[in-house]
């Protein structure tokens, strides 16, 4: 927020002035009203394994994060470039594999990835688009520019909180919101629907209006609220695996008026659980025979199965090279510096400097299997040293990041907390980014973890017109 002590950056001046004038009491009341409205609307996420408190309100922070228009343009161009390249990459990997033959990305890296789906090989997907819905995690690096920390190409979530936060903030700071000239994000659901519509399967049922559904794992999923929200906003059916069935490679949903054919499935169920006949046989969340119907071109799955190979943490390091290879352009948004540990030279460098590194297991997410160098003991470092030496493919290392911070209203006062930014990208007929995103906040002081399950919250993100 600040350029130097007590001097706010130009796009934060309005908020700064408002906060100076606003009595703390009023801010506290607004926060209470906002929390209550979230509780009453049931905007909650599920915490597993706790009988009474299975639903918890996702903490929302009232102070908006402001991104000036020129900076957003850069983000927009960069992410458009990235999703385009990653889709070309997936198409290539599941077909001819030129990029592997040319040695730009090591072949073994792809085939050893646990999210690589052999079943997808040689399969033509509508428009050649594998990733149509994507949420990319950005962080601000010390020189002030954004860098990509992680691509989420499988089933990214959180977009409903972005929309809910906006609704609340409009009520809390109506005047400020208007004066700032904030770009609207309300059309997200409409864009999502248009994206899904553009992905009709090869053998679409033809003349009649295509049926699009959202497949949810059910009420016990942590993002269930979001699934209901999006289905309602788009006006499509929210289905569970048990609502669908496959007959003669055609997908139907069971309605009170009989069976109805389904054309496009926006699935919020992981690859592994989509079809017990094809992937995990113990899954009760999916639909038996769904993948065959997909292969037969009778239904579209968005995102396509197997996109996880492109957001593997080790493949991530090659994304700049992937962009150059397919688009002959330099990446507009850079990566965070990442060391590939299968490379002997890089591995030696990392092992020597473990206390300055963050080491991540490539297949994990949510902060598991991680070593944070500066906060680690000699014993932990020794353990990681040995696993890195034995299984270098399973780990990557990054220098410790200094995440940027933003003012947040915590425990009755305003204090700085670490944040990141997840914009949502849609890819159908063309690439669409709604101007905004989910700014996640590590509400615990000093913490770098923004996950909701680990005490993270979120705040509204204002992208300005100018």
């Amino acid at each position: 927020m600040f350029e130097s002590p007590c001097v706010p950056r130009s796009h934060y001046q309005g908020l700064f002035r408002t906060l100076l004038e606003l009595p703390g009491e009023q801010l506290r009341k607004s926060q209470q009203a906002a929390d209550l409205s979230f509780l009453h609307q049931g905007i909650t996420f599920t915490v597993y394994g706790n009988e009474q408190g299975t639903e918890r309100v996702f903490p929302n922070d009232l102070l908006p994060r402001i991104v000036p228009g020129y900076e957003w343009q850069q983000v927009e161009r960069g992410l458009t470039q990235r999703i385009t390249a990653l889709n070309l990459f997936l198409d290539d990997v599941y077909h001819e594999g030129h990029i592997l033959a040319d040695g730009v990305v090591p072949r073994e890296l792809i085939y050893s990835c646990k999210h690589f789906r052999r079943e997808m090989c040689g399969l033509a997907v509508p428009r050649g688009i594998y990733v149509s819905i994507c949420g990319t995690d950005l962080v601000r690096v010390p020189d002030g520019s954004f860098a990509v920390l992680e691509d989420n190409l499988r089933v990214p979530s959180g977009v409903s909180y972005m929309l809910a936060n906006r609704k609340v903030l409009k009520r809390v700071f109506p005047g400020l919101f208007r004066d700032y000239g904030v770009r609207s994000i309300d059309h997200y659901s409409q864009s999502l629907l248009a994206t899904l519509r553009s992905l009709l399967p090869l053998n679409c049922s033809g003349r009649r209006e295509p049926t699009i559904v959202l497949l949810t794992p059910g009420t016990f999923n942590s993002a269930y609220f979001e699934h209901t929200f999006l289905a309602q906003q788009m006006g499509i059916e929210l289905v569970e695996g048990r609502d669908l069935l496959v007959h003669d490679n055609i997908v139907y949903m069971r309605t009170t008026a009989g069976l109805r054919r389904v054309d496009v499935i926006y699935r919020r169920v992981d690859d592994d659980f989509v079809d017990p006949l094809c992937f995990r046989p113990d899954s009760r969340l999916g639909v038996a025979g769904l993948f065959n119907a997909y292969r037969a071109g009778n239904v579209t799955l968005a995102n396509a199965p197997g996109t996880g190979v492109a957001d593997d943490k080790a493949v991530y390091a090659y994304v700049p090279a992937i962009i150059r290879y397919y688009l002959q352009q330099d990446p507009i948004i850079s990566n965070v510096e990442t060391h590939i540990l299968t490379d002997k030279r890089q591995r030696d460098h990392v092992v020597e400097n473990l206390d300055k590194m963050v080491v991540k297991a490539v297949g994990e997410s949510g902060g598991y299997g991680m070593l944070i160098g500066p906060h680690s003991t000699a014993e932990q470092r020794e353990k990681f040293r040995s696993v890195i030496e034995t299984e270098p493919r399973n780990y990557i290392a990054q220098p410790v990041l200094a995440l940027s911070r933003a003012p947040c209203f915590v425990e009755g006062e305003i204090a700085a907390r670490h944040i990141d930014l997840r914009p949502y990208i849609l890819f159908g007929e063309h690439v669409t980014l709604v101007p905004g995103g989910l700014t996640r906040v590590a509400l615990r002081k000093g913490s770098l973890v923004v996950n909701s399950s680990q005490g993270g919250g979120s705040k509204d993100t204002w992208v300005l017109r100018g």
Partner: protein, 319 residues
């Protein structure tokens, strides 16, 4: 509409109706026993439990507090108010994109209010106030539903659930009350008896409506006629069955399914109530009559389930 969604809306509505019914019964009962003085003890609670089909808790020191707890806040009893409201909410939560946000917010608020009831010693006193709250909350939900949700197929499943449940509850409650008297007389009642009949009418929100039609002179035969055969009063058996029949016919038209059996069952029940005479019903035996209503109701429920919610795939592919 998805079968699962229709199923959830139907059950959500049944559970809420049951919670409201229970809350009103207890509310009326507690008021009534203020007039009787302290002597009544656990006996009236036991009768209440029977009317509500709540199993008597397996507990050595049964006092009225324990019994009251069983029907109100006891989550281990699936028919308690708290369990019903929680089940209604859980059903709506699974289909919340199908209802208006106002509906969800109201039911969620009602749920938070009921589970937030303090568990301390004076909880019964507190809940006496909140029985009213549950009834009001349920009425508010019904009003919000009618004015914010499209009166399409989904709304008709809500209607169906409410009135199937109501028919069943009314038939049971009337049966239990009339089983106390040897002969149903067309004569005015007085004293404690009078209070009992007032209690029955109030348990069906029918006291004022009855008075408008027949004046405050309470005759058991008229009470029976009013609660069974009145065509205009929303808590009469006939009115409820009319609603069930209408909802089923509309759903049948909209889904274009072959749904003869539930419509026929409800139609038969409707005709029976429309053309029935209270003298004849009494002559044939009131309890048998109520029993047959409950049976037809249960059959209609089963065939709704088989045709709309859980049909075999083969039958649907043939169509």
């Amino acid at each position: 509409m998805l079968s699962r969604v229709a199923d959830s809306l139907y059950w959500m509505s049944r559970y809420l109706e049951r919670a409201e019914h229970t809350a009103r019964l207890i509310d009326v009962d507690l008021q009534l026993h203020l007039d009787y003085g302290a002597a009544s003890g656990t006996a009236h609670w036991l009768r209440l439990l029977e009317a509500l089909q709540v199993p008597v808790p397996d507990d050595e020191n049964l006092d009225s507090t324990r019994l009251a707890y069983a029907v109100t806040l006891d989550r281990t009893n699936p028919s308690s108010i708290a369990s019903c409201i929680s089940a209604a909410r859980e059903n709506l939560r699974q289909v919340r994109e199908q209802c208006s946000s106002e509906m969800w917010e109201q039911l969620n608020r009602l749920y938070l209010q009921v589970v937030g009831t303090p568990k301390g010693e004076d909880w019964l006193l507190y809940s006496q106030l909140s029985f009213r709250g549950v009834q009001e909350g349920a009425h508010l939900f019904q009003g919000i539903t009618d004015s914010t949700m499209s009166h399409g197929e989904g709304w008709h499943y809500i209607q169906l659930g409410r009135y199937v449940e109501r028919t069943h509850n009314l038939a049971r409650l009337v049966g239990i009350h009339f089983s106390r008297v040897m002969e149903v007389l067309d004569l005015s009642v007085e004293g404690d008896e009078y209070l009992e009949w007032v209690g029955l009418l109030k348990s069906c929100t029918a006291f004022e409506a009855y008075c408008k039609k027949y004046t405050a002179e309470l005759r058991p035969l008229r009470v029976a006629e009013f609660l069974l055969l009145n065509s205009d009063f929303p808590h009469s058996v006939r009115f409820s069955v009319d609603q069930v029949h209408t909802a089923l016919r509309t759903i049948g038209e909209r889904t274009e399914r072959k749904a003869d059996s539930p419509i026929r069952l409800a139609g038969r029940l409707r005709a029976n109530l429309s053309f029935g005479q209270i003298d004849e019903i009494m002559a044939d035996g009131l309890q048998n009559y109520l029993e047959s209503i409950r049976n037809l109701c249960a059959q209609a429920h089963n065939s709704i389930h088989q045709i709309y919610f859980d049909y075999p795939v083969e039958s649907a592919l043939v169509q």
